[in-house]
């Protein structure tokens, strides 16, 4: 399946995490997550709802069209949510799923979205926490990263921005939060999960062409194996068609370092034409 790009594999794997009827907390500037969401909606999750820049479930699902015309979401949406409404809905457990892309992930699914290196003098620094702490309240979290390297999967985070499954999740029960934390991590090489809250991350499935050894080498901590590790079901013709329909310009590639320039050029050319 060398013809299927990593962006397609990841988008399809993430789409499969969306359940029909989910209310998805969808952020800004995460087109890979958007592509997964729109693909799921076109296939097995027609009753999914979500917000896109505050607009609830726009009828228009072409991501490039939505990105290029800010009025399109508005004109095709059911409702608009203010910042206060979105936040309170999430606080009450009203959101079922969120995709989140951290810079570092530790074996318990704790994440760093803040900075790399010593916090006082980081070698790299990111935008900020944004909504990483939604991991406490959004019911299911699907983490994803577009580079699977030992710098991303680390035994010890440079900065603990958001808690995954610390303390075997007892804090979640004690605090009475609606979030169950990260359920799955999707990477260019594999799907990783947790056998139980508090157990270390394990290899659940391989992306086509990847090997157990390759994933273990790309992971900066000891990775257990789930029973029956196998390759994921390759994206079906229907899945690929749905993804292409939702994201014909492959805006999802903006989330991949090595594909970003091409995607930007494609979008710019498209914008110039239209």
């Amino acid at each position: 399946m060398s013809t299927v790009g990593v962006d397609v594999l990841m988008a399809v794997a993430m789409a499969r995490e969306v359940r029909d009827g989910d209310f998805v907390s969808h952020g800004s500037a995460v087109p890979l997550a958007g592509a997964a969401l729109m693909t799921a909606k076109a296939l097995h999750a027609p009753h999914v709802d979500f917000f896109y820049d505050g607009w609830v479930t726009p009828g228009e699902t072409d991501l490039a069209a939505l990105a290029l015309d800010p009025g399109l979401a508005r004109r095709s949406a059911i409702a608009f949510l203010s910042q206060a409404q979105i936040m309170e809905l999430e606080l009450r457990g009203g959101c079922d799923l969120q995709f989140l892309r951290p810079a570092q992930i530790d074996p318990l699914g704790n994440v760093n979205v803040s900075s790399i290196g010593p916090p006082e003098h980081p070698s790299r620094r990111f935008h900020g926490i944004a909504v990483a702490d939604a991991m406490t309240i959004v019911r299911r979290i699907c983490l994803y990263v577009t580079e699977h390297t030992p710098r991303v999967f680390v035994e010890r985070l440079d900065f603990l921005t958001g808690v995954g499954h610390a303390e075997e999740d007892r804090w979640r029960e004690r605090l009475g939060v609606t979030g169950t934390g990260p359920q799955l991590v999707v990477t260019p090489l594999a799907l990783l999960d947790f056998a139980a809250p508090g157990s270390r991350m394990r290899l659940r499935a391989l992306m086509p062409g990847a090997s157990v050894e390759q994933v273990r080498e790309a992971t900066g901590f000891e990775l257990a194996l789930a029973p029956d590790v196998a390759e994921i079901d390759i994206p079906s013709r229907e899945e690929i068609a749905a993804l292409e329909a939702a994201d014909p310009l492959a805006t999802r590639q903006l989330e991949f370092r090595e594909l970003r320039a091409g995607a930007q050029a494609r979008l710019a050319a498209h914008a110039a034409r239209s």
Binding site: M87, S114, E120, G128, I129, A130, D133, T136, T161, V163
Partner: protein, 276 residues
Amino acid sequence: MVDQANKLKSLSEAASLVDDGARIGFGGQPALSRRPMSFVRELIRQGRRDLHVFNMIGGLEIDLLLGAGAVASTHCSYVGLGDLGQSPHFQAAARAGSVEIEEFSEFTLVASLRAAGMDLPFMPWKTAWGSEVVSRQGWKTITCPYTGVDLLAVPATGLDVVVLQVSRCDAAGNVELPATLELSYDFDYLIARAAARVVVCAERVEPIADPTRVAMIAREVDCVVHAPHGAWPCGLGGEYSPDIEHLAETYLPATRVPSDFLDYLREHVHGRDEPR
């Protein structure tokens, strides 16, 4: 007594309300929209220093203030330039450790501002449990007297002044809702209500016909500035788009070399011809 009917001031008078070392907040979202850039340029022209800057989605206003050396600390859940990528001066300041960075998430910042807006010293909260953000900032926990649960106590964020850029307000300070709602438009009002003083920079200063479209009333606003195109080079929803050409081809390249940025400030801030 404040003249409630006419709060119109010039840009330079309004900017002089901000002291060196002030805690100053902004609104606007996304990162290149609804920033009071004329006001920010005037702060720089007046040589304001040691500002503590607050926003949820910090954008160009914070990058420019950082680049001008006017910032002592940032307090945001995001600082960046949206589709144009990272905020270069924020990145540089973070790496150098040259300004203090207080980390908020969107949730904890809202909690903090809500507390201030209700005149409460803190807000009990759940979302940031266990985060290093909390421990580093010395935020404390509080035990619910009914359930016995230990919650995070997010301290109230009170601000000296908040500056907004809006489409329309009247001379008394009644602010109209945006004609086109943008993501988190209501954050502008939330942060304004945490401030001792509110300055509104408006594209148009004129009466608002429909009372149900008033988002903030005159009593909540201390000063009105007529600042047409005041968000430039950011955009303003329903009015004008960000000036991507200026940002990508003039602003961003100038951020790469300190001497170039001095030239930028000289030409586009100190030298900019705008009503003051």
